[in-house]
């Protein structure tokens, strides 16, 4: 049977919560077993990305190139681990591949590249370009008479790139209501806190001024994220939407939360063990 959008079954909120905790556990296991990963940002952004993937972006591993699938584009390719964990969980590739993460010759590279594994739609390693690709995809969808959506996950650090604002202006100009961006605003970039390295706040006001509908929420609060996505994916919209998700680096792991380190995290066995025990306790408490 060929896949179509009506076959997509979104997770409900409790299921999504369980799922994000399981994904965190999986990412920590991968980071530990494979010697390291960009983990802090994967943990801050996983709730936003998982909400999109499991509830809003219609798509299926059986038809990763279906024309009417929703597109989910990852702009900061360094969040690869979060996307790989989701794609493996959803069956886009065998879960075993996760243990080859960033090995020479592995399809799972340190940053995501289009054409490496199904479900990775774009190459996001060079920051600030993918919102433009999303604008192009949304324009192409309109030209083809298709109604699927284009979701783009960005980081707050990459808002420094001027091209992001070229893309933001054009998305509103072309009235791309099918485009929904999410920013994992964890407040850090490579050299330190975004407020100190290059302050781009207030981001919400900037996007509003560019003609976007902005939902500013706690990006690790799944009901809030989903309520925002509910509003921004209403039919017949003609303005691009932004979920500005205020998140915590390393979310879910006490010794990483808000810590400026772990941009590239090398976990030892005891750290991985502690992280996974905390996640288990949190999951059990729900």
């Amino acid at each position: 049977m060929t896949w179509n959008r009506s076959l997509f079954r979104p997770l409900d909120l409790p299921e999504l919560h369980q799922k994000t905790q399981a994904l965190r556990d999986l990412m920590i296991e991968v980071a530990w077993r494979t010697g390291g990963a960009y983990l802090a940002q994967a943990l801050s952004g996983i709730d936003l990305l998982a909400a999109v993937h499991y509830r809003y972006a219609a798509g299926d591993a059986a038809a990763p190139e279906a024309a009417d699938r929703d597109r989910v584009l990852l702009s900061p390719g360094h969040y690869a681990l979060a996307l790989y964990a989701i794609l493996a969980d959803r069956g886009y590739f065998p879960k075993d591949w996760l243990w080859t993460f960033k090995d020479d010759g592995s399809p799972l590279e340190l940053a995501t590249h289009r054409g490496t594994v199904p479900g990775v739609e774009v190459s996001g390693g060079s920051l600030g370009q993918v919102l433009s690709l999303g604008v192009g995809m949304a324009l192409a969808a309109r030209r083809s008479g298709r109604t699927h959506r284009v979701f783009v996950l960005m980081s707050d650090g990459e808002q420094d790139e001027g091209q992001v604002w070229e893309a933001a202006a054009s998305a509103a100009h072309f009235r791309l209501g099918s485009l929904v961006a999410l920013i994992d605003a964890n407040g850090f970039q490579v050299d330190g806190p975004t407020a100190e390295v290059m302050n781009m706040e207030p981001l919400g006001d900037k996007y509003r001024a560019f003609g976007w509908d902005v939902e500013e929420v706690d990006g690790n609060d799944l009901p809030a994220v989903c309520a925002a996505l509910d509003r921004l994916t209403m039919p017949e919209r003609d303005r691009p939407g932004l979920v500005l998700g205020r998140t915590i680096r390393g979310k879910g792991v006490s010794f990483m939360e808000g810590h400026p380190g772990f941009h590239y995290a090398r976990l030892d066995a005891s750290m991985a063990d502690q992280a996974r025990r905390e996640l288990q306790a949190d999951t059990d408490a729900v």
Binding site: Q129, G136, L139, A140
Partner: protein
């Protein structure tokens, strides 16, 4: 060698503007992107004919190139326009990591080649061929005249993969006979046979090469002429065949001698057939503003300069 040249060169207005509309009629997947230079890049007629397939992104070339890539990923065939300088300088990383790295089916059209801009060095694309030629998988074109523009636009639309093409606008010379010339990507065009020296040109300086060959002939030097509208992939076999017969080579280009035609020919000769080579073009300098005629004289991209280069190359030949 078939005579592909018109007996009397002509001048025509806007061959690109006209051809783009014709291609649009026949190829519904072709879309056009512009960057606030509608009339200046001759895409205004396409816009009027196909408003739903035309996207003006404003003067934002980085966004323009990546929007085109997004559209190409979804099956459209975008033709992306600006002046050559802006597409290749300002949007270089976008062209590199999104267009070239993915082999995206995007056609980059850089208007006003080399020294033909009146706005000075900010607008003179003198290293665009170099920048584009070095990108893996990029096809690079520099058509010579109206005939070749008309044919190259169709070839670009039908070619699957990224292309950068220099483009001329407004009054454009017609030198090649449209009835007999057949432009093909990757095919060089022998235009005159000769046994003493081979003149190789790309783009609009084809006429410079032809005039130089005639001047050399009048002084008893037999000069072959090879026109290479495709810089990449370079027609290596054809170049080597003619170079072997002539024993010395001169390149002529509306560009720096580094990175463009001169370098491409030097690479082939250096690897396969070391011969005396002289290169005519800009030499490690930006140009001042001015009319094309003034600039070509000032920077020595003239028939006279090509003749001198040919004499030097012939002198350097080892006795046979």
């Amino acid at each position: 060698m078939e005579d592909l040249l018109l007996a009397q060169p002509q001048e025509e207005t806007g061959p690109y503007r006209r051809t783009l509309v014709a291609v649009g009629e026949a190829r519904p997947e072709v879309v056009v992107l512009g960057a606030d230079l509608g009339n200046s890049t001759e895409i205004d007629a396409f816009q009027q004919r196909f408003p739903d397939r035309f996207f003006n992104v404003g003067s934002a070339e980085q966004n323009e190139v990546d929007i085109a890539v997004g559209m190409a990923f979804e099956g459209q065939v975008p033709f992306v326009h600006s002046f050559g300088v802006f597409l290749t300088r300002r949007a270089y990383e976008q062209v590199c990591v999104q267009v070239a790295m993915h082999g995206a089916n995007v056609k980059l059209v850089g208007m006003i080649p080399g020294l033909t801009s009146r706005l000075g060095p900010t607008h003179q694309a003198i290293e665009d061929l170099s920048l584009m030629r070095t990108l893996p998988g990029m096809t690079v074109l520099d058509p010579a005249d109206a005939t070749e523009i008309e044919q190259a636009v169709w070839a670009m639309a039908d070619h699957r993969g990224p292309v950068y093409a220099r483009m001329m606008r407004r009054e454009v010379r017609r030198v090649l006979d449209p009835e007999r010339h057949r432009f093909q990507i990757g095919k060089a065009v022998p235009l005159a046979a000769g046994r003493d020296v081979l003149l190789v040109s790309t783009g609009l300086v084809l006429e410079t090469a032809l005039q130089a060959a005639a001047m050399l002939r009048s002084e008893g030097v037999s000069a072959a002429v090879l026109h290479m509208p495709t810089l990449k992939p370079l027609d290596r076999e054809c170049l080597l065949d003619l170079a072997r017969d002539a024993g010395a080579v001169v390149t002529i280009e509306n560009h720096l001698v580094t990175g463009g035609l001169g370098s491409a020919v030097a690479e082939v000769l250096g690897e396969a057939l070391p011969l005396p080579l002289e290169r005519v073009g800009l030499r490690d300098t930006f140009a001042v503003p001015g009319t094309p005629e003034f600039l070509f004289r000032r920077y020595g991209i003239t028939p006279e300069a090509a003749v001198s280069a040919a004499r030097r190359a012939v002198t350097r030949k080892s006795p046979r």
